[in-house]
């Protein structure tokens, strides 16, 4: 993270009447970072992101985005950020290029519509009415609109929800490109693999609080869950003759006698010892898999919920 954070949030709190949606959260996002907010529906991630975009006032706490206060300097802030919201629409009869030119006119600076159409692979569709676009094309247009003012900070609120896997991969590629251009991206998502693939850091948010924050790897390492090593040998193993490998917590041999599963708190060391043992026993290894706890496992462990609950 660079010295000057792009986003700084301290004790941020948001209530809707008696309902406390965000309960005093703190985090920072640095220049060029892709920061993910993970959480189930109603966790408070959209409220958080909308406060930072200047769309909703906070109840208490401090927030600074690109040096602006989102409550008091809304227009200046909106001029500098790009936003891709959940569930928005455009007029049915607006053409793709017209939409880009119209939205471009709202900002103090804007990229050319041709440049964006090419970049978002919408050139062929530039004269198409919005109502005729597929879900993926509409989402690409939403991203193009978010980029129309060439922002250094983008807020992407569940940009791939409801899209088929192929389109999701395309959107992932676009987000990776944005990251490559040193833009800062704040991403909310339901999809764990999206967060694992795209985010430099994630904050897991549940019931209005951040329950864990760090790189996906750090979070996985913090998990109390063990890694799992799956081994398949060419020869049948004797279940009673298996040694106690270092850091191995539990093992089980399948009925075929060839598939062995070992749980370990330090999988690299355990795996190394297993390999040595196999070699010593002159056993031939056919297959090996090491599975670390996923972010989804960490999420379930921390919140007791599935991400899509």
């Amino acid at each position: 993270m660079s010295a000057e954070p792009v986003i700084q949030v301290q004790s941020l709190q948001k209530s809707y009447g008696k309902v406390e949606a965000v309960k005093g959260i703190d985090f920072q996002v640095g220049q060029g970072e892709v920061f993910g907010l993970l959480g189930p529906n109603g966790a408070g991630k959209t409220s958080t992101i909308e406060i930072l975009e200047g769309l909703r006032p906070r109840t208490s706490g401090e927030a600074t985005v690109l040096g602006f206060d989102p409550d008091r300097q809304k227009q200046q802030l909106k001029d500098r950020i790009g936003v891709c919201l959940q569930a928005t629409n455009l007029p049915a009869k607006i053409r793709v290029q017209e939409a880009l030119e119209l939205f471009g006119s709202f900002y103090s600076r804007s990229l050319s519509s041709e440049q964006l159409l090419n970049r978002l692979q919408l050139w062929e569709k530039r004269a198409a009415y919005y109502e005729t676009l597929s879900g993926g094309q509409k989402q690409r247009l939403a991203l193009a609109l978010a980029l129309v003012n060439d922002p250094q900070l983008l807020f992407l609120d569940e940009p791939t929800t409801g899209l088929d896997p192929q389109i999701r991969l395309e959107i992932h590629k676009l987000i990776e490109e944005m990251k490559g251009e040193n833009r800062t991206v704040v991403l909310t998502t339901h999809y764990i693999e999206e967060a694992e693939r795209l985010c430099d850091r994630v904050a897991i948010i549940d019931e209005g609080k951040i329950v864990a924050m760090g790189t996906p790897r750090e979070l996985q390492q913090k998990s109390r869950m063990q890694s799992r090593i799956d081994i398949v040998t060419a020869q049948v193993l004797n279940g009673n003759a298996l040694p106690q490998w270092p850091d191995a917590l539990e093992n089980s041999l399948a009925e075929d006698g060839r598939s062995l599963t070992v749980y370990s708190s330090r999988p690299a060391r355990t795996l190394f010892e297993i390999m040595k043992w196999l070699d010593h026993q002159s056993l031939q290894l056919e297959d090996v898999h090491l599975k670390r706890p996923t972010l989804e496992d960490v999420f379930v462990e921390l919140t007791g919920k599935k991400l899509r609950d």
């Binding site: 975009e53 769309l55 227009q75 200046q76 909106k78 001029d79 936003v83 919201l85 569930a87 928005t88 629409n89 455009l90 007029p91 009869k93 607006i94 017209e98 030119e101 119209l102 939205f103 006119s105 709202f106 900002y107 103090s108 609109l145």
Partner: protein, 274 residues
């Protein structure tokens, strides 16, 4: 300025791409005009009545449906939500809506007056430009009323009910469809409190009597329309909502009455004068 121009240009394009806009702004009032003009063109008064009726129909339709219902639709469809994340304020959106309505409507008035003149020998008004200015004031005033309704209605259903509550009484009690001479007693008093009455009276005076915009009754009507535009636009800006989830208190609906205040004063003034 570039934002205003872009919104107005886009609004005009979008409006002209919608068949409903073409039908309700041009075809429907023209069908109405031809039918009644063919039936009732025996005297200049009758023809002027038909022209006034056709224009009032268009003004009220443009104000309540073209402006009000469309604004609610854009909010319900989450279109305004997309605008909310940009640096624009509600002002260019509201100005764009009013200006677009005017641009689309003015050709219709010109076509209507020329058709009445060439097909039914109606004499053109002596102060044509002043008549167009007066109708424009009426159009903008009723479009701003439509925007006030859009800003106080929480749902499309609510908006449709409020619009109908204003549209039909204004159409029936303003003298646009039922001649003013038919209103007696209480109906005459009610007639004087209906905002569209002043639009109809002004148009009749300028078309039939060849009166000018600066005659006392006409400039008072014009003033009421201007005040309504100013109050209506201010209320619509203050109560503007980008998202359907942002609900407004039921008591806010009284703002519609505030926007209509100039006509309540006019009605009271006419009532006391008689």
């Amino acid at each position: 300025m570039k934002t205003y121009l872009a919104i107005i240009a886009m609004d005009i394009k979008l409006a002209l791409r919608l068949r409903a806009v073409i039908f309700f702004n041009y075809l429907f009032p023209l069908i109405f005009f031809f039918t009644f003009a063919t039936l009732l063109h025996r005297t200049p008064e009758q023809l002027a009545f038909v022209v006034t009726m056709s224009i009032t129909l268009g003004v009220l339709g443009s104000g309540f449906f073209g402006s009000g219902i469309r604004a609610i639709q854009e909010r319900e469809l989450n279109i305004l939500r997309r605008y909310k994340v940009t640096p624009i304020t509600p002002v260019p959106i509201l100005v764009g809506s009013m200006f677009t309505g005017w641009i689309i409507f003015i050709p219709y008035i010109l076509v209507l007056l020329l058709l009445a003149h060439f097909l039914y020998q109606m004499q053109l008004p002596a102060h044509m430009v002043q008549l167009l200015v007066f109708i424009s004031l009426g159009l903008i005033a009723f479009r701003s009323l439509g925007l006030v309704i859009a800003s106080v209605a929480n749902t499309m259903q609510e908006g449709t009910i409020i619009v109908q509550l204003f549209y039909f009484p204004m159409l029936l009690l303003s003298g646009a469809t039922v001649p003013e001479s038919d209103f007696k007693g209480v109906m005459q008093i009610v007639h004087n409190f209906v905002p569209a009455t002043y639009l109809v009276k002004g148009m009749n005076s300028m078309m039939l009597g060849h009166g000018s915009l600066f005659q006392k009754d006409n400039w008072l009507s014009a003033l009421a329309l201007i005040i309504t535009t100013v109050v209506g636009s201010t209320v619509a800006t203050k109560l503007f909502r980008w998202e359907k989830e942002e609900k407004i208190r039921s008591s806010a609906k009284w703002w519609v009455v505030v926007a209509l205040l100039p006509f309540l004063v006019m009605g009271l003034w006419v009532w006391l004068r008689h």
